[in-house]
Amino acid sequence: MRYYNDLMKERRVTYKPAGKGKIFTDPDADRARLYFRDQKPRKMTEKVTTVQNAVSEMINDGDYVGVGGFGANRIPTAVLHEIVRRKKKNLGLAGHTATHDFQILVAGGCINRCDIAYIVGLEARGLSKMARRAVESGSIELTEWTNAAVTWRYKAAAMGLSFLPVRCMLGTDTAKYSGAVEMECPFTGAKYLAVPALYPDVGIIHVHRCDVYGNSQIDGILIADQDLARAAKRLIITTERLIPNEVIRREPAKTVIPYYLVDAVVEVPFGSYPGNMPYEYFSDEDHLRDWMKAENDPHTLKDFLERHIYGVKDFNGYLDAIGGIARLQELRNLETLVEK
C-alpha cells in the first residue's frame, strides 16, 4: 500500500497570476462571514414585496449582480426590466451564459463591467447586434472566464471559501484575460488554476414556487442557482406562485433555497417570459426574434423598448403588450407538447 504522506514534506511553491483581468468583487471569506452575520436576516419573517420596492431598496447603482437561470431560461425578467426602467447605472454582472438577460441590461445601459463566460449571443438564435456594439465600443470592462469557472466561483462563495482550484482555462488566452492564479496541488504537485470566490452584491432568481419567507422550490435543472443563492449578499426571489409554508414542510427535500438566504420575495406569474419556464411555458421565440430585429436600427430599438419596458407600468403591462393570456396559453401548450 502506498502512503501519500511519504511524498510530503514542507516545500516552497509559487503562486502566479495567470491573467490581467480584474476581479470585480471581494473574494475575502472573512468579510463575507461578517456581512452574513450582521446583514442576513435570520428571522423567518414575511418578505413579500413588489418588484418596484425590491429593486429600489435592494439594488444600488454600482452593485454587482448575479442573475439566476440560464440566459433565456428561468430568468427573473420582471426585475431586469425594472432595473432598466429605473435607469440603474454602473452595475457589474456575472455573465454566466447571459443571453437575453445581458441583452436587457445592456439595452438599458446599466452595465459597466462584466465577468464573461458567455455574452452577446443568444445561443442557437444568433447574436444581439446591440449588445455586441456595446461590448465592441469598449464601454464595458471585461474579465474572461468560462461557464464552469463562474459556476465554481459561485460555489467557492457558497462553501464559505475565498477560492477553489479548477482544471479549466489552463494554457489559454481565456486565462490570460481572467483573474485566475496558477498554483499547484499540495498533495500531487498537479497544476491548477485558482479562481476567486464570487460573492455578488445582489442575486436575482426566478423560481417555480416559494412561501412568504422565501423557502423555494425549483423544478428541473438548477443550473447554478443553488450556489448563487448561497453566494449572494442580498437575494431577490421572484416566483411563479406563492405557496403556504405547509407545502414546503410536506417535502423538505425539495427546498433548494431556504428562507435564511432570501431578502425579498415577489410573486410574478409568467416571470421568466419571454424565457422558458420548465413545465410551465416555453420561450417566446417570435418575441425574441422581434427584439433582435429591432436592434437593426437604433430608432426601431428605441420604439421597441418604449413599447415593452419604458412605456409600461410594470411586468403585467409588458405581458399585455405581447399578447396577454392568449399568447401565454400558446406558450404553455408549446412547453407541455400539447397538440391542439
Binding site: G71, E123, E144, A148, W152, D173, I221, A224, F282
Partner: protein, 257 residues
C-alpha cells in the same frame, strides 16, 4: 446518389464517430443534430448531456438552448451545471463538440474576439461559454465547421479553448488532463484528425467532389495528410431520411447552409 447540402453532410459524418454506450456533451445546433442522429441509427444508447444540467433526455425536438426544458425532457437526470462540469472534470465524458470563429493547426479554437484590443475588440463573439471547459475536460473534442482561410488560420487572435496548444506535451505541461484533446474536425470539405506524434491536423478523408487543392486553398496553414487518403462516404439514405424527417423536420439546422 442522393442530393445533400454541406450541413447535412457534416452532421451525417459526425454522427458516425459517436460510439454506442458512450457519453457526449453537446451544444445546440449541428452537434446536437449529430448526436440525435447517432442515437437513432448507430448508437441507440449514446447518452447525451447538456452543460446546464440535462442528463439523458428523450429529446422531443432540437433544443434552442442548452438549458431549455427539452434538454431534460423525460431525462434520466436533471441536475446542475457544476454537476455536469464536474462529471467532465472527473473524466466520465467521452465526447464533446465545439464550434468557433477561428481554429489553428493544433485545434486551438477562438470564440472570443477578432482584433488585438481585448477591451474594445474589432469583433466580439460570445466567449467561452462552456467551450473551454468541455475542450479541457472531456476526452475527445470534435468540431463541425465550414472550412475557409478566414477560419483555418496560422495564428488565431485569441485561444478561447485549448486544442493541443503549442504541440506535443503542451496540454499536459499546462496542467490539462493527460489523454484529452482534439479528435476530429469535420468540415464541408473533409474529415481531419490529428497526428499522434506532432498533434497537428491531418486530413483523413476528402468529401466526394472535393479536391486536395481546394482544401489547401481554404486552409491558412500547412495540413498533414494520411498516406491512404480516402473519399469520405457520403450521407446514406437512411441517415438523410432520419435527419430530415425526425431530427430536424423544420430544417432549423440543415436549412442554414
Amino acid at each position: 446518389m442522393m442530393e445533400y447540402n454541406n450541413m447535412e453532410l457534416m452532421i451525417c459524418l459526425a454522427s458516425r464517430y459517436l460510439e454506442d454506450d458512450s457519453i457526449v456533451v453537446v451544444g445546440t445546433g449541428a452537434p446536437c443534430a449529430a448526436a440525435m442522429l447517432a442515437q437513432k441509427i448507430y448508437s441507440p444508447r449514446l447518452m447525451i448531456m447538456f452543460e446546464a444540467g440535462g442528463i439523458g433526455p428523450l429529446l422531443p425536438s432540437m433544443p434552442i438552448s442548452v438549458g431549455d426544458s427539452r434538454t431534460f425532457y423525460r431525462a434520466l437526470g436533471a441536475s446542475s451545471m457544476p454537476d455536469i462540469m464536474e462529471t467532465c472534470q472527473r473524466g466520465l465524458v467521452d465526447y464533446t463538440f465545439l464550434g468557433g470563429a477561428q481554429i489553428d493547426c493544433y485545434g486551438n479554437i477562438n470564440s472570443t474576439m477578432i482584433g488585438d484590443n481585448h477591451q474594445a475588440p474589432k469583433v466580439r463573439f460570445p466567449g467561452s461559454g462552456g467551450a473551454n471547459d468541455l475542450g479541457s475536460l472531456c476526452w475527445k473534442t470534435m468540431m463541425i465547421t465550414p472550412q475557409d482561410k478566414r477560419r483555418f488560420t496560422e495564428k488565431i487572435d485569441f485561444i478561447t479553448t485549448p486544442g493541443y496548444l503549442t504541440g506535443p506535451g503542451a496540454r499536459e505541461e499546462a496542467g490539462l488532463p493527460p489523454g484529452s484533446g482534439p479528435y476530429k474536425v469535420i468540415t464541408n470539405l473533409c474529415v481531419i484528425g490529428f497526428d499522434d506524434q506532432i498533434k497537428k491536423m491531418k486530413v483523413e478523408s476528402i468529401h466526394p467532389g472535393r479536391t486536395r487543392e481546394e482544401i489547401i486553398e481554404n486552409t491558412g496553414f500547412e495540413l498533414l495528410w494520411v498516406d491512404e487518403l480516402e473519399e469520405s462516404e457520403p450521407p446514406r439514405k437512411e441517415e438523410l431520411d432520419i435527419l430530415r424527417n425526425e431530427v430536424d423536420p423544420y430544417r432549423y439546422i440543415i436549412g442554414r447552409e
